[in-house]
Point group: D2
Chain length 333, copies 4
């Protein structure tokens, strides 16, 4: 349930305001150079602490590798990384607890886990968990090279100029949504598996695990629903499968076709808006107005690129390992 | 790879122009009444043979239950259903083979399977495989009752009036895209599992296995990217979690919140347009213009509702079984 | 549940007295020559219909490949083989139904599936299901070559001379147990995965799915419990890992070490003995004596070699695919 | 690979002489009281540091729960426990490294992981990893109550009097093998899944992951190979499935039948005998005699009961969750 992948398998654990957030990666090939320093850059990109519109909460986010690395190289055994939580103030959550916050997991977690969940800072539902994913993504990026993954925020609050969008959010003191685009280059032909594990299926599965993602589209995506076949079809113009256009986003029949993978994600505005809201107080059974205290992002998507890149690299690592094996054996006959 | 689900697990096999298409369902509870007659209605909806804009190819689509049913009830053993192919004309595919059709799996299948794939009618990549999914969906719908799933085409070729859209496609003799919407009612709270198996993750995984789907969005979806938190958040107005609005599409924190699940799919236009196209002839290594013969849909989405309903019911069956077990045990302590 | 394997995955379905027994193999590399003729020899070895001590029931056991093969080669898509049941007489089972047969699955199946199971000839619990496994094993053997698997019955009813053992069983008209030994040669170093998927774990998992197997031991096995370390340890005498003795049965630390894999299986006597037995009549709630009609083996292990070979080859195929991928990637760094 | 279980899923990580050994348990029902104190008794049983014949190495074995517990109860999120290593002396392993120890994983680990494995104290192959399993077993035992699991050493070095066996080992300064028996009471009918996940399959899979286990037998086990059907069959004498004898070890058709589960394990003598041994020096390519330094058990099986109990409870937890779901749903129809 908290595990993803077939051959390269990540498992997350931890809570926002518990001892730590962590991740275990199983199926790591042995001999890959890997140190805590390697992770710093992407972890800082995820942190977003310096950007306007992101939370002022500062976790030090220092990764601690507690298994699977020896002499600065991967051993082939499960690789576990933990991030201790050290900037914790939980008092606000106790106060809020009777009133499930709209848009949050509060209500569903209470129902699903019978009130036993760690409710502080959304507990196991917190975006804090993505810190481990970013760490594992650093490893995945090394494995898939020369395949490159790059992700950018392309729109904030309807503005293609990101700064403008963020300024509006800050000025109006409300959380805002955003669009994010991912581009993958040097993609080998043949990643993805019919029938159920199309590369679109597996990528979208991973992407919808990111908090606040509410839509995923590949290539022309929703715009394709208004196109004609004669226009949408990407003419193949070389024997290695390169196409004149890329409306398919690099994927045909669910399998990578050698062109760049392109997909976009819709991020809803963060549920934790500073604006006054209304919800049911479960103790009094009365509707109640309230405002959130605490440290929150106005635009969570600003932290997304490092996370989306990491998850994409994790998915592609698994897909490449799966595809390599099938290909190699086939040629032996 | 060709299997989906944890406790209620479907596995597809077969080819468009081979002996049959089929499906095995494992994890079926024993004692559910199930006969071939039960499947007829949904299979006919999928067939679409009477609608304008769908292929004139007529498969009889007669399901044959070859395991897992005894005395017209499920036994608890794997349930296998096959559909023999009996309306096959493969001659056209041999002719076309040197030229991979744009938008089809032809090129990627050739690369991935080294030329050994059954290329006739797209073989294992064919939408023919969805016939088994519709059959399994009939069983799943029985299990999840009183949860109901209903799917409608909401737009064809940019037209909200479906007839108009289809007529345009026929008139201009080109394939067209469409939007499809799914609504699920009577949804229990708590379906979906953190972190990686959010109900959005699992539903989108299933949906992107349907040929021609290029986008999936839940609730407000891509429109949410342009909303503010104060607007998007759905105020909780009753103690069972019902909300005033449903921008989240019935899912918060990746878990169902008791409101209707709502999601939309973007179907690209069918790759098999009657229009002349260009592609690389892999034998001559020359670009070549060609027109497709054969029997094809102008708007594949017209057949989609039965398939999307079936897959949704399959996903929900699995999610309900998973959620029930976790809930019940928890209350024992 | 009815599926086994990670990358090379077999799924069984069917019943003893239903329409068919069958198997689907997913993860088959494309391009392997495979025809129904290839399966005949092993299927006949399994049938045992000519041996004394085996059932006179004659299934024609004609395999029908209904997916995954095109032009006599595997396509890379799921490969399904069915065996239609055509020598069925079920009347005896209705009569017997009230009295669960000792040693059979009758009682547990009734409880587990609430009486909905196909009880005829043990239904899905029947050894009939192994016919598909033998068929899939033929494919697996092709993939693992030059690794060879050979299995022999080494003892029947305590007699190392098999004929003697069988004659005793026939003379005394009682079912008898047996020992079976498996030897695998040309084994590559490195098959098996720590911690839970040791090759011993995975092989024993597969073996205990064979009806009547009650014990599995590797190398010296139970005799090792009475050995000293100085005696049991196999001295490594060459740089490729060859050892002077092979008490470990070719497996150290759960991983193949390049020496022959050796394991033994204990088969209990068939539950279906012709002798009079006693059991509880569940309708009358009285103990009752009865004798079984029907067609049964006195020594089921005589049919075992083809089955054990097949399952071993299936396990090794999966292990080799898993090991190849990990090894190859590791050398890239 | 390092994960076991479907619904109740344990994942081990760590090394003998690295930072820690650890385990993550996913699928834990919420609300189970669980503290570090709960684990002490079983951890001490595993430690065996006070028994003659066990290693004098003393790990403090203090469990640290770093996720999944809040207010001394399980939350339903993944539960991770780590054991820091603090009694480490690795110098001896560097010296030994050129000469793979007979019976150890040294040679296979070097080959499989290309020399990148953590070779100190067998690294990830160390029995040190079982400390996490014992911890998870404490949780599992709570879940399966009133089912009870008890394991005893029944024979050491061929002696049924354990003390005598150990004294012989100490006197002759050689490691010795042992037999271990597991009894499970209050077993519900119906655990285990046909075809491949018989309860015997899953239990043996788990057991063969314990270092030094080379044989597993259920009920009469290998002795059944010399029994007649009329003798081996357990007559059913009550309507709840209780049998007069229990030669089947509580399992028929791979499914629990309500009688006690009984199985036995053969433990080989520890590879680390103090006696002089011979192996190939991989640097000099010469055979070489050597004696092991270090802290080792003469009879590893003395520590086994806590481990075997834990793994059995883990397997049964998973089997009970799986069986409950299938049963409950079935009764709805």
């Amino acid at each position: 349930m908290n595990t993803f992948g077939q051959l390269f398998r990540v498992s997350v654990f931890g809570e926002s305001h518990g001892a730590c957030a962590g991740i275990t990666v199983d199926g790591v090939p042995a001999g890959i150079p890997f140190t805590t320093e390697d992770m710093i850059a992407d972890l800082q990109r995820r942190q977003g602490g310096n950007m306007q519109g992101t939370t002022p909460r500062k976790e030090s986010d220092i990764p601690k590798i507690i298994s699977g690395v020896f002499n600065d190289k991967t051993t082939g055994a499960p690789l576990t990384i933990i991030f201790e939580n050290n900037n914790i103030d939980s008092s606000v959550y106790e106060k809020q607890r009777a009133i499930p916050r709209p848009g949050h997991a509060d209500f569903v977690a209470e129902q699903k886990f019978g009130g036993h969940q760690d409710y502080r800072g959304s507990g196991h539902f917190s975006a804090r968990l993505t810190v481990g994913i970013v760490a594992a993504g650093v490893l995945a990026k090394k494995i898939i090279a020369p395949v490159t993954v790059s992700v950018h925020v392309t729109e904030v609050d309807g503005e293609n100029d990101i700064e403008t969008g963020i300024k509006k959010a800050v000025a109006e003191n409300d959380s805002v949504g955003a669009l994010v685009e991912c581009n993958v280059t040097n993609v080998p032909v043949g990643l993805g598996e019919p029938f159920f594990d199309s590369i679109e299926s597996v990528l979208s599965h991973a992407m919808f695990s990111i908090p606040a993602v509410k839509g995923v589209e590949f290539g022309a995506g929703f715009a394709a629903a208004r196109m004609r076949g004669s226009k949408h079809n990407d003419a193949i113009i070389s024997s290695d499968g390169k196409t004149k256009t890329n409306h398919a986003g690099g994927i045909t029949g669910g399998i990578t076709n050698g062109n760049d993978i392109v997909f976009r994600l819709a991020f809803k505005p963060a549920s934790s808006t500073p604006k006054e809201q209304t919800s049911m107080n479960m103790q009094t059974q009365q509707l109640e107005s309230f405002s959130l205290d605490g440290r929150h992002d106005l635009c969570v998507a600003l932290r997304a690129p490092a996370i989306v890149e990491a998850l994409t690299a994790i998915v592609l690592t698994d897909a490449m390992l799966l595809a390599q094996f099938s290909k190699r054996v086939a040629t032996d006959f």
